[in-house]
Amino acid sequence: MAIILSDIVMDYPGTRALDRVGVEFRDDEVHGLIGENGAGKTTLVSILGGSRLATAGRMTLDGEEVRLTDAGDALARGIAHVSQEGSLVPGLTAAENILLGAEPRRLGAIVDRRALSRQARELLTRWFPDVEIDLDAPVESLPYADQKIVEIVRALRGSVRILILDEPTATLPAREKERLWAIVRRLPTQGVGVVLISHFLSEILALSDRITVLRDGRLVETFSAAGADEARLVRLMLQRGQTGGAVDAPRGAVDTAVPPVIEVSDWQTADATAGHFAVRPGEIVGLIGLTGSGHFAFARSLYDAPDRIGGAMRFAGEEVADVSAAAMRRRGVAFVPDHRMIHSLVADWSVRENLAMVHPEAGALSALGILRPAREGREARRVMGRLAVKASSPEQIVTELSGGNKQKISIGKWLYGAEDRYRLMIFVEPTEGVDIGAKREIHQLMKDLARAGCAVVVASSDLIEIADLATRVVSFAGGHAIGELHWPNFSEQSFIAAMAGARS
């Protein structure tokens, strides 16, 4: 069996998630599907699995055009989807989970427990004869790999020909992954094709027959996995082939005689480690890496590290013991996070209230903490002018603004009542979902801040942005800071090589 998707388009309000993507999935292969976050992988498999309807495009199954309107429809045609989050019911046994909704009954009402146990066992041995799982144990007591296998067996209950596995090993400890890999490899020999989404490129290479790469909602290429290597995958996932206009612009010289503002050594949190990392006044240090490689987590841990495991930090020459948001802010660290509506703004607040969140005292009678709306309005207007925020007034509700203007408010929080107060400013995805004009303005602001003596750290998945801004780049892979690049050795190629794990 083969299912061919052609010219698939998926539009969400304001964005095109998939743009004329064409790909063929077969029942005799493991088909790896890769791409950065936002590349469109999940959207594509939800269309394949029937849970989303494409805006445009065709789907043919063995030459016959089909239209899948829901997951049940897809299942009837032999396409099953095991999602990333997991769909097991805790408290039920593994066998009960396998036969959920199709329990054998006596007299039409009473679940026949013995038959249920036997049928689940038969299903498991039919597909995976050498896998041993205690099917009568509560499912949550099983190892994670076995839980995933239970989910897969349930998905294989009908006559399935294509099985979609979305990040099946994301939650598995390393030693359990191989158990699942063996399962995945075996399925095509039993007539079930696998569509495998994974962030682990080594896993994709080891398991796939063919690999499809998506980038920014477009198909990059489908190719045989034989002979491919990780460096090629990374290049295909990231390379946009654009030339950044400002890459060649010279960077301000950094006085290396000046001591660093921040310095960490043997830094270790749950998601990121770095041997030594320091930033001097006037520097803009870019952090790059693939999704989940630790560059965002590291940037954040310099401001708020509740999960710190080890390492030492010095800020402005002083030893820092308490790395928490409140304490670091007081020392002079600003943090502009990604996902501004989740991490930075209060949705139903006005522009003024959002701007005043970090330093409300600037709009208050000092000492007493009594807010003066007129004074707040004045300071809000100053910041809005400084950042060229387009809003009808400081009283406009922040959710009514465009993405770029929201981001300016998220940054402006740290300028309200605090121009020049911050010695280190950390940005994560500073121009995520921001139009090109606002992007340029935000970049200019960051350069101005650095020129005024602020140390700047930028973690971004936009390599062109990093190339335009940074004076120095640190690359991350697998949770570790692994390399460092200096301007003018900045190019998409050099970045991609650094992110693929090549030490430089």
Partner: protein, 328 residues
Amino acid sequence: MSAALAAPRDDAAGRRRLKQGLLRYSTLIVLALLFIGFSIGVDRFLTTSNLLNILQQISMLTIVAIGLTFGFAAREMDLSVGFMAGLAGLIAPLLLVAGWPMPVALLAGLGAGLAVGLVNALLVTLVGVPSLIATLAMGSILFGVNFLLSGGRAIYGGLPDSYLVLGQGRILGIPVVAFIMLGAVALAWFVMERTIFGRYVYAVGGNLKAAELSGIRGRRYRQAALVISSLFAAVAGLLLSARLGSGQPNAGQDYLLDGLATVFIGMTMFRPGTATIAGTFFGALFIGVINNGLNLVGLDTYIQSIVKGVIIIVAVAVVSRTTKLKLI
């Protein structure tokens, strides 16, 4: 072309703003209509003495609801306020009857509010029990404590006039409790709308993650909100026992449901989806006018209970259908 594109968008924005404006004041309009309706239809409604009566009737409820409003603003729910009011309203009469001076009795009542609030706050922020559960359980505990303390009987006899005047007295014909209530409303409004503390409470309730990443110690403001909630309940309990002239083990029980109804009605006003002091005050007026009007018409209390239930459902339905309200 850009003009053609811009026009419908402006229309949509205008419609949305109109809808929001209507929503913001619809409850006030309903309140005004109720008031006019009762004034025309019910003989004794629009008289000075009855209006003062309404004011007196809603005083304690408003004070409890203000406390709840602090909790809601920080996204914490305090379900122990009813029994907390009962506890404070027992402790003070018990001490007074035993001959203790009035300041000691009042401070003991408030101290009980402080202690219960602190325990609630610690359970929620340090142990990690959701406030809904922690305060529900605390309410059950206080219910038992109230009966243990009182032996299930009313505490009365020998309560000094200086105490009773708090609940029963009038100044210039206006009930003392109304002055205290209006003072509490003014103070709470000022704290929530005009101080950094209040702004931070709203920030923590509006987006805890964003508040904490802005360097606000979220836990502190959630704790403070729960303590304040308990303190206001204690004040209401003291006033209630002064009004009744006795400490009753099951006094104050109705304040929980009525208080929640008050806050929910208030959340439909001014900043839909957010509990505000002004909204809560008008929410209390709403409940007061309905209860009083139905009373005068001669409807039984169980009918009022049905009406209240329906109002809560309507208010919460309006708020959750028009905003992204998440109560828990």
